[in-house]
C-alpha cells in the first residue's frame, strides 16, 4: 500500500469535506473557435467526476476555467453555491495535480509541499509538522530533501498530490495525472488516489482521454465532444447505454452494423442487417437506415445457423488473458470483433461460423449519421 490511512481526526482533514462544484452555462471562445459551449455540470461533494473526450473537446479548458487560468465569456462557476468567477487563481483554493506534475525544480520535496502553506502565510511552527504529516501520508518522508529531478515518475506524482492537498483545497483537479506513468504503476496510483480521495472525502475532477482510467477512477463520467457534454452518467450507464453514436464509439470497443429498421411496436424493434438477417430487439427507433452498435462481448459464435444468426468468416484471434478477441467478417464485408472464451473449441482462421447476439444483450440502435460525421 502506497498511502497510509490517516486517522479521521477533526481539524484540517475535516474541512476538506462537503464541497460542491456547479458549472452553469459556461462558454469559452478562442477567436472563432468555441472551446466550451454552454456547459452545465454539477459535481457532488465527495464525488470523482471524469471529463473524458478526445483532444480539443474542451475538457482541459473546463478544468482551466474552474482553476481560474481561463476567463469564461459566459456562465458561472460556483463552489458550495458561491460564485468564484471574480477570484484570481491564487484565491480560489483549488488544488491541481498537473500532467507533468509541475514540481518546482529548484526546491526540495519538502519545500514543494510547504510552498502553498508559506504562500498562505501559515506560521512557521505549523508548516513543519503539516509538511511532515503530508509526506508521511504519501510515504515520502525519507525523500523530503531530494529535488524533484532525483525522483521517479510515481514519486513525483505523490509529491504533486501532497503539495496540492497541503492547501486543503475545496476541489481537487487532476489534469491527465496518470498519462506519464507506465502501465503497472498507473493502476497502483489510480487505486491509491481513489483511496485517498475517499478517506478525505475530496471532491475531484479528473481530466483524461483514457477511457479505462475514467472507468476505474470516476464515480461519474462526462463524455465531452466539441465543447459540449455529450453524456453524463456512471461508468456502467455510459458503457451499457450510450446515448449517442459518438459515446458508443469512444467508450470501449464497438462493432457498427449497418441495418434497416423495418418497424417498431410494443417496445420491440424489427430490423434487417446488411446480409438480410432479421433481428428483433427491445427498444425504439424510427424506421429507416440505422446503425446497430454491438459490444464484442454481446456476440456469440454458434456452429449451426438459426434465427437471428448470421454467417461470418473467422479471422485472427488475439488472446487477451482469460478470453480472446476474435476478428470476423460478415458476408457483405462488414468487419466484426467479438470475444470468445480462450479455452473453448479453438476455431481456425478462415473457418465459417454463425454469429448471434448473446442472451440478454441489449445493443444500442442509432439513426445512420451523415457521411461527414464520425
Amino acid at each position: 500500500m502506497l498511502f497510509r490511512p490517516i486517522p479521521p481526526a477533526p481539524g484540517p482533514a475535516a474541512s476538506l469535506r462537503g464541497h460542491t462544484l456547479d458549472v452553469l452555462g459556461l462558454g469559452v471562445r478562442y477567436g472563432a473557435f468555441t472551446a466550451l459551449d454552454a456547459v452545465d455540470l454539477s459535481v457532488q461533494a465527495g464525488e470523482v467526476l471524469a471529463l473524458l473526450g478526445p483532444s480539443g473537446c474542451g475538457k482541459t479548458t473546463l478544468l482551466r476555467t474552474v482553476a481560474g487560468f481561463v476567463r469564461q465569456d459566459a456562465g458561472q462557476v460556483l463552489i458550495d453555491g458561491a460564485a468564484i468567477d471574480d477570484l484570481p487563481p491564487n484565491r480560489r483554493r483549488v488544488g491541481i495535480v498537473f500532467q507533468n506534475y509541475a514540481l518546482f525544480p529548484h526546491m526540495s520535496v519538502a519545500e514543494n509541499v510547504a510552498y502553498g502553506l508559506r504562500a498562505r502565510g501559515e506560521p512557521r511552527a505549523r508548516i513543519g509538522p503539516r509538511v511532515a504529516e503530508l509526506l508521511e501520508m504519501v510515504q515520502l518522508g525519507p525523500l523530503r530533501d531530494r529535488r524533484p529531478g532525483q525522483l521517479s515518475g510515481g514519486q513525483q506524482q505523490r509529491v504533486a498530490l501532497a503539495r496540492a492537498l497541503a492547501i486543503e483545497p475545496s476541489i481537487l483537479l487532476l489534469d491527465e495525472p496518470f498519462a506519464a506513468l507506465d502501465r503497472s504503476l498507473r493502476l497502483d496510483m489510480q487505486i491509491e488516489i481513489k483511496r485517498l480521495q475517499r478517506q478525505l472525502g475530496l471532491t475531484a475532477i479528473l481530466v483524461t482521454h483514457d477511457q479505462d482510467e475514467a472507468m476505474s477512477v470516476a464515480d461519474r463520467i462526462a463524455v465531452m465532444r466539441r465543447g459540449r457534454i455529450e453524456q453524463l452518467g456512471t461508468p456502467v450507464e455510459i458503457y451499457d447505454a450510450p446515448q449517442s453514436l459518438f459515446v458508443a464509439g469512444f467508450i470501449g470497443t464497438t462493432n457498427r452494423l449497418p441495418c434497416i429498421v423495418e418497424g417498431a411496436a410494443d417496445g420491440m424493434v424489427a430490423l434487417r442487417l446488411g446480409d438480410g438477417t432479421a433481428l428483433t430487439l427491445p427498444g425504439e427507433s424510427p424506421p429507416g437506415p440505422a446503425l446497430l452498435t454491438v459490444r464484442p462481448e454481446q456476440l456469440v459464435l454458434h456452429e449451426s445457423p438459426g434465427p437471428g444468426r448470421f454467417p461470418v468468416a473467422l479471422g485472427l484471434a488475439l488472446p487477451l488473458g482469460g478470453q480472446a478477441i476474435r476478428e470476423a467478417r460478415l458476408a457483405d464485408g462488414t468487419a466484426l470483433r467479438l470475444t470468445e472464451p480462450r479455452l473453448g473449441a479453438i476455431r481456425a482462421l478462415g473457418e465459417r461460423a454463425h454469429c448471434g447476439l448473446a442472451p440478454g444483450a441489449r445493443p444500442a440502435l442509432f439513426p445512420r449519421p451523415d457521411p461527414e460525421e464520425d
Binding site: P89, N90, G116, R147
Partner: protein
Amino acid sequence: MSGAAALAAAPAGRAAAPARARRLTPWGLAAPLGLAYAAFFVAPLLMLVAVSFYADERMTRWGLDQWRRFLLDGFHWKVVADTLLLGLKSVVATTLLGFPFALLYRGASPRWQRVLLFVAVMPLLTSVVVRTFAWIVILGREGVVNQLVLGLGLAAEPLRLLQTELGLVISLTQIEMPLLLLPLLSVMARIDPRLLDASASLGASPWRTLFRVILPLAAPGLAAGCLLVFASSTTAFISQSVIGGGRLVYLPAMIWQQAMVVANWPFAATAAIALLVSVSAVIAVIAYAGRVAAGHAHG
C-alpha cells in the same frame, strides 16, 4: 537474402565505427581551437605578464618598479574602483530595464517573441562606434534630451550629460543590453508556464511567483548576462573615451595612453593585468551569486 545479409553485417560495421571515432573525439576535434588559443591568447598573456616585470620603460632590466608605482599610488586604485563601479552600474541599469522586458518576452506568444527578440538584438546589428556617436547626438548640449528638457521647461540650463558618468552609464545600458538579454531570454523561454499556474493555484501572489519561482529559475541566465555586461562595459574603450571624454579616466583608457602615447609598455602591461584580475574577481563573485540563487538546482 541480400537484405538479411546486410542486416547481419550492419551491427558489426556499426560497432567498428565508434571505436575509430572515439579515438578522434573530443580532444582531437578541439585541437585546432586549442592550439589557436595557446598561440594567440595564452602566449601573449604570458608575454604581457613578463613585460610588466621590466623595471624601466625601455625594457632593459627586470624589477618590480612598475608594480610598485601602480600599487603605491592612490590615483591608480581610484581608477580601478571607478572602472569596476562603472561596470556594476551598467549591470544594475541593464538588469532593471532588461528583466521586465524578459518577463514580457516569457509571457508573449511565439509570434511576439520573435518580434521582441529582434528588438533585443537590433543594437548588435549596428557598430559600437555608430551607436556611441548616436548617443553624442542624443546627450549633447543641443541634443534630443536637452531640447526636450528645455522645451518642457523642466530646466533653465541644458543638462550636462556628455562627459559625465551618468551619460556614460545611460549609453552603456543601451549598448550592452543585448548581452544581458540574449542569455536571459533563452532561459526565460524555457520556464514551464505550468510552474506559474501551479504557484498561483497554491495561493501565491504574482509577486511571490516572481521572486520564488521565476527569479530562481532565471538566475543562471541572468548571471550569465550580468557577467557579459560587466566584462564588456568595464572594457568598453570606445564608449568610455568618446562619451566619458578625457575627464573620466578608466583603466582601458589609461592602458591605451601608457602604451600608445607615453610608450611605457611595462606600466601599460601592469595596468592591463590589474584590469584583468579585478574584472575576473568581480565576475567570479557574480557567477557564484547566480549559482546560489539558482539553489544548485540545475546540475
